[in-house]
């Protein structure tokens, strides 16, 4: 096997791994705020790319503005899902599996609405900067991959800053440690849940927008992304946002190398095998469970 070829797939694996990582962080943020695993996470990723495409092509808005509006719209949708689907169940003390089922149903509803509103054709976005790939020792690194890696690192940095220094970030962490104690301290736990949904939806949307120029988006791409993000979160130790990012990188790289050996058709099979491996050997992830 050619060394450059392996290097090449490592680079593309890191790019997609960052995206899995961001989706994984999205899972953790909601899980920490509420103990809920939101199966509609993939819808946010799909909508990020899709709304940007619609604003860009049909709305003829400038690229930057389209991206900004798309992220805000998806974050808003996160709050709507929290209000319409999750909150009523939460108030009725619904069991965990009902919550999971309801969020998956929400995913299907969003997919179908997108299908009806747009169509079933794959859509793509222009690359952020139209420059030739950078050559490093014979390995071509395309600019979009650099954007994804740099963007993801910046977001992870900002999130760390948000959780460490701001009042709201600290309040969210307090909720993650103990919701009742947080409520007794006067932290509005319910608004924190809504905020967690907004944050996680926004993260998903950004991941989707950065990735779409290198691949494509269609109404039904969400679920496989959600599964990869979830696996990233498990590898990192469920509930650890930064562990999830590391897990995403690992998953992306392993998957990219596996594609090289087995072909792209078995992408999901490889991802699931990694999931099963972790569940067998170390279900608490590489960093151990958060608590």
């Amino acid at each position: 096997m050619d060394v450059t070829l392996i290097g090449q797939s490592l680079v593309s694996g890191l790019g997609i791994g960052c995206v899995y990582g961001l989706i994984g962080i999205g899972f953790c943020v909601i899980y920490n705020a509420s103990g809920i695993v939101n199966f509609a996470q993939g819808a946010f990723v799909m909508l990020g790319g899709m709304i940007t495409h619609v604003l860009l092509v049909r709305g003829e808005l400038p690229y930057g503005l389209a991206i900004l509006l798309a992220v805000l719209a998806v974050a808003l949708l996160g709050v709507v899902i929290e209000r319409v689907v999750v909150r009523p169940l939460w108030n009725r003390n619904a069991p965990m599996f009902v919550m999971i089922l309801a969020t998956l149903a929400a995913q299907i509803v969003i997919e179908r609405l997108t299908y009806l509103a747009v169509d079933d054709q794959p859509k793509t976005l222009p690359v952020f900067t139209d420059l030739p790939p950078v050559m490093v020792r014979g390995i071509a690194v395309n600019m979009q991959a650099l954007w994804i890696v740099a963007g993801s690192l910046a977001i992870v940095g900002l999130l760390a800053l948000f959780f460490r220094t701001t009042r709201t970030g600290k309040a969210m962490r307090a909720c993650a440690i103990n919701r009742e104690a947080a409520a007794l301290q006067g932290i509005p736990v319910h608004s924190m849940l809504a905020l967690a949904f907004a944050l996680s939806a926004g993260l998903g949307a950004i991941a989707g927008i950065m990735l779409t120029p290198t691949q494509y988006t269609a109404f039904d791409v969400g679920v496989p992304f959600a599964i990869s993000g979830f696996i990233a979160a498990i590898i990192g130790g469920f509930g650890r946002p930064f562990g999830a990012f590391l897990g995403g990188l690992m998953l992306g790289v392993v998957q990219a190398v596996a594609i090289l050996f087995f072909g792209a058709g078995l992408k999901t099979v490889v991802a699931l095998s990694i999931l099963l491996l972790f569940l067998f050997v170390r279900p608490s992830g590489i960093l151990g469970l958060a608590k």
């Binding site: 069991p95 089922l101 149903a105 299907i108 509803v109 179908r112 609405l113 099979v269 569940l279």
Partner: protein, 332 residues
């Protein structure tokens, strides 16, 4: 559901020598409605018979799902995978290898159980959302394999020309014969579920549904019984997949997609989760209703998803719960 374990337990430990006239309508009404729908299809034949036939196949599938979700209060999004394994095994073995339908069905069942064991064993020891995601993934994987493994499954083209089931030399291929055979399958499935529910096994499931910690404290091996429940559900799914390919004569990857999963959840919740009749009545009602208005086709998944969310929030006990409520109102 919060309500299902208590209903199961009441059934499992009957108070002696106390006939319950109050529960009679609730117990009989769903079966009467089901019998009326099947009876109408038998008389009418043609298209109604096809729709009701599909509904009966789904009734077997959803009854299996009900063992895992209703009786044991776990969730699996991957039951379509086991139906696909059963269906493809039947289709491939009968068309390409000249097997009889029964050995092919049994081979499919064995393959589905093996897959369920491989996925269930590591995940069932863990919290619910691990299993949910793993099962969602296996659904996608089996779909992917069905598409990619073209030399055997013919990819998107699908396998056609699957022979109908024959019983003692009589080929079950006419509308009415198929309906009668499927009805017999559904009755057998319902009897099996009822039997399981009132057995030692069913009580263990109910215990797990109520509280895993409490069940463990009572000496119930939680992981093992969850696995048994999962295997039972996979077995019914596999059988329904085999029935489908023999009745339709054709199989393709689209048959066993996420659409099937959402549809079956809607059926389960419409009918009433955790009851024996619920899956049957749910499958029939959800299949028959859309046929009454045609333009609905494009909006099917949307409507099923939205209906499912509303049911989960406002009517988690479904039609079976409705019948029971009517009954209580009549005889206070």
């Amino acid at each position: 559901m919060t309500s299902s374990p208590s209903t199961i337990l009441r059934k499992a430990f009957p108070v002696p020598a106390q006939p319950a006239p109050r529960g009679r309508l609730a117990a009989v009404a769903p079966w009467l409605v089901a019998a009326c729908i099947v009876g109408y299809a038998l008389v009418a034949g043609g298209y109604p018979a096809t729709v009701v036939g599909f509904a009966l196949i789904y009734a077997v599938f959803v009854s299996g799902l009900n063992i895992f979700m209703g009786l044991t209060a776990q969730v699996s999004f991957g039951q379509s995978a086991f139906a696909a394994i059963g269906g493809y095994a039947s289709a491939i073995l009968t068309t390409q290898h000249e097997w009889g339908w029964l050995p092919a069905m049994v081979a499919g069942l064995a393959a589905a159980l093996a897959a369920a064991l491989a996925i269930g064993y590591p995940t069932l020891r863990l919290k619910g959302h691990y299993l949910s995601m793993a099962t969602l993934a296996i659904g996608l994987i089996v779909h992917e394999i069905a598409v990619e493994w073209e030399s055997v499954t013919l990819g998107y083209l699908g396998i056609s020309g699957v022979p109908p089931i024959d019983i003692a030399g009589y080929e079950v291929s006419s509308d009415r014969a198929v309906l009668i055979m499927l009805s017999a399958c559904v009755v057998a499935t319902a009897l099996a579920v009822a039997r399981i529910r009132s057995s030692r096994l069913g009580r263990a499931f109910a215990g797990i549904a109520g509280s895993e910690d409490a069940a463990r404290a009572l000496g119930i091996n939680v992981a093992r019984y969850k696995l048994v429940s999962f295997l039972l559900a996979a077995a019914f799914a596999s059988l329904s997949g085999s029935l489908f390919v023999h009745v339709v004569g054709y199989v393709s990857p689209e048959v066993f997609s996420l659409h099937m999963v959402i549809l079956s959840f809607t059926m389960l919740y419409v009918g009433g989760i955790g009851t024996v009749a619920g899956p049957v009545i749910g499958a029939l009602v959800v299949s028959v209703l859309p046929e009454t208005f045609r333009s609905f086709r494009d909006y099917q998944d949307l409507a099923y998803g939205a209906a499912l969310i509303l049911l989960l929030i406002y009517a988690p006990r479904g039609l079976a719960g409705l019948f029971a409520a009517l009954d209580t109102r009549r005889k206070p």
